[in-house]
Subunit: 277 residues, 2 copies
Amino acid sequence: MQWLYLNGSLVQSDEAAISALDRAVFHGRALVETFAARDGRVSRLEAHYRRLCDSAPVLGLAVPLTLAALESAVAAVLDRNSVTDARLRLTLTAGPGDGAPGSVTLTDQPLTDYPPEQYERGMHATVAAVRRNETSPLSRIKCAAGLLDGLLAREAARAAGFDEAIMLNTRGLVAEATVANVFIVKGNRLLTPTLESGALPGVTRAAVLALARDSGLDPTETEVSLDDLRTADEAFLTNAVMGVMPLTRLDGAAIGDGCVGGATERAANGLVGESRH
Amino acid sequence: MQWLYLNGSLVQSDEAAISALDRAVFHGRALVETFAARDGRVSRLEAHYRRLCDSAPVLGLAVPLTLAALESAVAAVLDRNSVTDARLRLTLTAGPGDGAPGSVTLTDQPLTDYPPEQYERGMHATVAAVRRNETSPLSRIKCAAGLLDGLLAREAARAAGFDEAIMLNTRGLVAEATVANVFIVKGNRLLTPTLESGALPGVTRAAVLALARDSGLDPTETEVSLDDLRTADEAFLTNAVMGVMPLTRLDGAAIGDGCVGGATERAANGLVGESRH
């Protein structure tokens, strides 16, 4: 039986319930953080917590738990389910909107999405039909309602035999992948779409940018066109669960030589080195 | 105590719970229909049910209740709460995604949003900063995740002293209002944005289009620019709860003479006449 954290307690997953009138149910009004535990430890949990607090005002929410309470919840869920490696999801719902509080859940899933061979082969992506709406305040926070377009685009990409989809913004520029940020390498330059392009302010994105110089890369947040991506020397995707994932093909065509590149490996190694501090 | 319909039973609202792992909570994966009961009767309930069934495949859902079951649920909720006039909301959630079923709720709220004087004065709208993403499949169905952008835009408009906000699509054309479709009148022509413009296929929108000729109006679904709206003879908004609502000002400037127009009144009367059949 799986256990999860719900409003300060551990409950069995089939008994975990929230109000049917919660605005999370009614219109996706809930904040989300996803991160991985490895060897019982979550990298950059404080940065996830800080993003949650920064995002809350956009939905008119307060964050009802401290960072210390979140750390305790992570430890309790891992311990109760006897796992050390897991994909964790924190969900903070808006509540029914009549003054009644929302709910906080922390759930874990097996960390099986990204096997080692995926990192060796890299991901093969297509371009999503749906655009990412960079004019929406939801594009700059991680919230339930803001996730569905990307998840449907990823389902469509997988059904068509791809691993992922690149989402362009309303102006046709690269915004991000469906659940990950996008980086491209040109020479020693490391480029990633600006937040104004519709990129979610990813915690791993920020860490890669901060650590790039240590890997001999010159990082820039800028506008990235689809042609920039197609003609890049290397490309990779980041999120807090998969870390740095090579992106080796776009709509069947190789990016660079279609193999995992040296700069991608250095960025990945830099991230792993940092997280051990 | 308020009662609501949940999965075939009537339950008290503070005891109505759904799984905390429902994908409605996680990423707004839920279908929604809203409609009004007046004198115990819902207009065009079958059209709402048909739209629900048409929308379900977009989210990979099945509709677990028949039209007759929906009619019974409406009657039961109204009866149990001793009301004949109410705003009703049907919510069909996706469930946890492991084969476990989703939930169906039908809730009622007082029908107080639109007092008679609002219909006499008409609504004063602004233009929302957020664009409606007509490239998203969610723009063509009524789903929880697709509602949040509009609700936030409406909150912002109200905080700025307006009643509503007009949402443009990513190409800068009029898509709809935040929770209503938009119609404009030019001479005897009645124009409304195409679904491809990002207009939700509103049940009342369809009814107004179908009944327009009886009101001496020539209806067309077309691309509508902001300038078309600003220079219209009359404009009005429609949804299933408010019916036909005059739109008399945009960003402070009068539309037409700023009063409720004759074509708007004819469209409203046509709708009322039809619903009594």
